[in-house]
Subunit: 444 residues, 2 copies
């Protein structure tokens, strides 16, 4: 059995990683199942993934993916909303659902004995949701409260604004995941139903599970559950990898090395702190530079020993929260530097944030920093993978984003090959890609 | 060896729980070490606990416990702040420190091979911190930024205000953990040093560790680390259980069953939502009623199937976030109902929140609800205990709060004995204990 499998490989049942027991099957209908059996725990994390998110929405239906995720909890042909709620609560752990820009995920962590019940309710939701107009009317109000809650969190508002400014406010990928109060108010149940019919299909579905499970038993439970909800699962069907809607802005934002030349996008709020987001376009989630980026981000703003933390917080006491961040999608990405401080310190903090990246592009990093960053990434990786939820998430990302399996050891080997020259070159590239400065805080 | 051990039992080395391998030693100096060895992971969670928190502060030194926690990262005789930051980053995982009302905790999750290094840096911090005036000057600014950040989070501000109103704004337990901008600005390094000398002592220290560790090796590492920092650890010393400063308000707030009669404490902010906190005094962390309270809270507002979630969110769409909560300290506690909604809905939401508890006190709960709540608590418990951090935390709580070991099975047995009558009685008691309504949101 091959140790690597391309997304569109027709092999229907492959051991992807014999050392850690990662196995992938294509079930009837083209449903993909990836599992890692681990009997050292008495539970399992299970995720049902659809490769559809807010960037698959047309502007006039913005928020429909997120609304659909909510409505899936409101009842099926066999279950009331209360039945679904009860099933999730009985599942315990960290069960929930997430709508993102490029995928939607329904997940739960359950005791081994509850796996059949969890699969039954999750498959019921994605195959046989009732999607009634009445449910939308109630849930619309809940979603409007959710948007109002986000609106009250300055970091949240600043981050969404920053994403829109860098990626393009009028592009599918740049719009906020939940839509706006206006678009949610205008949502029609037929839009949501059309979305459900078009995207919630066997050839789109990816199921990942890690823990005290048996791959073949799970395959059987899944097929039974999906068929009960009315899905016809034909043998020999293959998964489908549909491109996301891509309406990226043609030109993108103007890039500069001179942060002082960027006109800040200011949102005035009567807050105590000014929240600063500074950066520009970065690299996509599938770029081979992502390992170099991990190291760069660790050195720049990834922990207490990072340059931003040491120079802005520890040495100068200018901020409590200061870090760097990235976001990567299938074809685009961004980088950012964040700090929150009382307003009088803003200009000094902005200069210091930019200077750290610029200096790294000019002078590179030390071998000691490189070693420390690799140690930090490796350690965080190892510790993170001790819980089944993280591994379940990793299998989903591998299948949905990369479409090709990479073992943990392979990923760590790629990290270990990053050198100081690569970090310097990438820092120089990012240092030439500043485009955007968002601030949310009191009037200056 | 006994399976239970009272706090002041002079036995110096006891297997508390042979079934799960929980062991407790009193090391020289009276240092307590509680471990649970689990070789199914290749990491360990380690916590160093001091039984001292913000409620041990005199009002004029408010915030000094939290400031001390910050300053411990600023350098020791052997390490610079950067050395400490590097050690923590290399530790990976979820390393950090927490100041609470009744304890301070320094913790880390590390790979097995990093355990000696983690113990070395943590013991260095608690024994040999330099606590220089210069470090306080820088860190004071960081803490003021931290307080400003909290001030910008309406839920945070509302919760702190609620705690102060129920517990007494002028009591040690009612004051906010971090102090105020005024008290932090006034802090003197001598106050912080006095706090360190008085409380960071062997007879106060509790160390808990769970994972791929050996109890005796850890004991040796600890003693070595503490002695290196200058602690004289005498054989035969016993732990000390010092009472917290208790300056509880004599009478407490006025109690009522009539929520409409409570005058709201309104904080005006130009937010989208109004954040509502409603409730009153509850039960302490050591009350035997706490198991009944767990069941009650699960049925009332503990998950998607709970009464508050179903009746306020699912049926009526009045809120996105709605739940019940409790806080318990050694001698006092409180309960609360929370919801956030757009302002026009406030009065309806307040009525519905109160009505759910009142009705539970009058009519009790169904056997089906009781069964579901027990299932949820048991499942959450079982899943939570799969990670070493949760178990490390549980051992610390057992030692610091309860002073007597209880196995997971014993706790679950107590939960299983809760009946509908006990839940109804407790609901009736809480329904007669409404005292406080805090709202933070736009002007009505």
């Amino acid at each position: 059995m091959p140790s690597l499998l391309a997304y569109d490989d027709p092999a229907s049942d492959v051991m992807l990683d014999a050392a850690t027991g990662v196995r992938r099957s294509i079930l009837p209908g083209g449903v993909r199942l990836l599992t890692q059996t681990d009997h050292s725990v008495r539970s399992a994390s299970i995720g049902l993934w659809l490769p559809v998110g807010s960037r698959d929405e047309r502007p006039e239906h913005a928020g429909s993916t997120h609304a659909l995720e909510h409505l899936l909890f409101k009842g099926t042909e066999r279950r009331t909303a209360m039945d679904i709620a009860t099933a999730f609560d009985e599942v315990g752990g960290d069960s929930n659902a997430v709508t993102a820009k490029e995928h939607t995920l329904y997940f739960g962590r359950v005791r081994s004995s509850d796996v059949p019940r969890a699969i039954d309710v999750l498959t019921d939701m994605i195959t046989a949701s009732r999607l009634t107009p009445e449910a939308l009317e109630t849930e619309r109000e809940v979603i409007l409260e959710e948007l109002a809650m986000a609106e009250d969190d300055p970091t949240d508002v600043g981050y969404e604004t920053y994403l829109a400014d860098v990626l393009g406010a009028n592009t599918a990928v740049g719009r906020p995941v939940g839509g706006t109060a206006e678009s949610v108010t205008a949502l029609d149940i037929e839009d949501v139903r059309a979305h459900y019919r078009e995207h919630y299909r066997p050839e789109n579905l990816v199921v990942t599970a890690v823990g005290d499970i048996d791959h073949d038993e799970l395959a059987e439970l899944l097929s039974t559950g999906l068929r009960r909800g009315g899905w016809e699962l034909e043998a020999g069907e293959l998964p489908r990898r549909r491109p996301h809607l891509t309406d990226l802005a043609g030109s993108g934002p103007a890039l500069t090395t001179d942060v002082a030349a960027i006109s800040p996008h200011r949102l005035v709020r009567p807050t105590e702190q000014n929240h600063i987001f500074l950066g520009g376009p970065g690299i996509s989630a599938v770029s081979e530079d992502r390992h170099t980026l991990s190291v760069l981000m660790s050195v720049l703003g990834g922990g207490m020993s990072s340059r931003l933390f040491q120079n802005i917080r520890e040495q100068r006491g200018l901020a409590y929260s200061v870090y760097s961040f990235t976001a990567g999608y299938r074809d685009v990405g961004l980088f950012g530097l964040y700090a929150a401080c009382r307003p009088g310190r803003t200009e000094q903090v902005v200069e210091l944030l930019a200077a750290e990246l610029t200096q790294m592009g000019a002078d590179g990093i030390g071998e000691d920093e490189l070693t420390r960053a690799k140690g930090q990434i490796t350690g965080t990786f190892a510790l993170g993978l001790e819980d089944t939820s993280s591994r379940m998430g990793r299998l989903g990302t591998i299948e949905l984003v990369h479409g090709r399996y990479t073992s943990v050891d392979e990923t760590l080997a790629k990290i270990s090959r990053v050198d100081v020259a690569a970090v310097r070159d990438l820092a120089a590239r990012l240092g030439e890609s500043f485009s955007t400065r968002v601030e949310i805080g009191p009037d200056a």
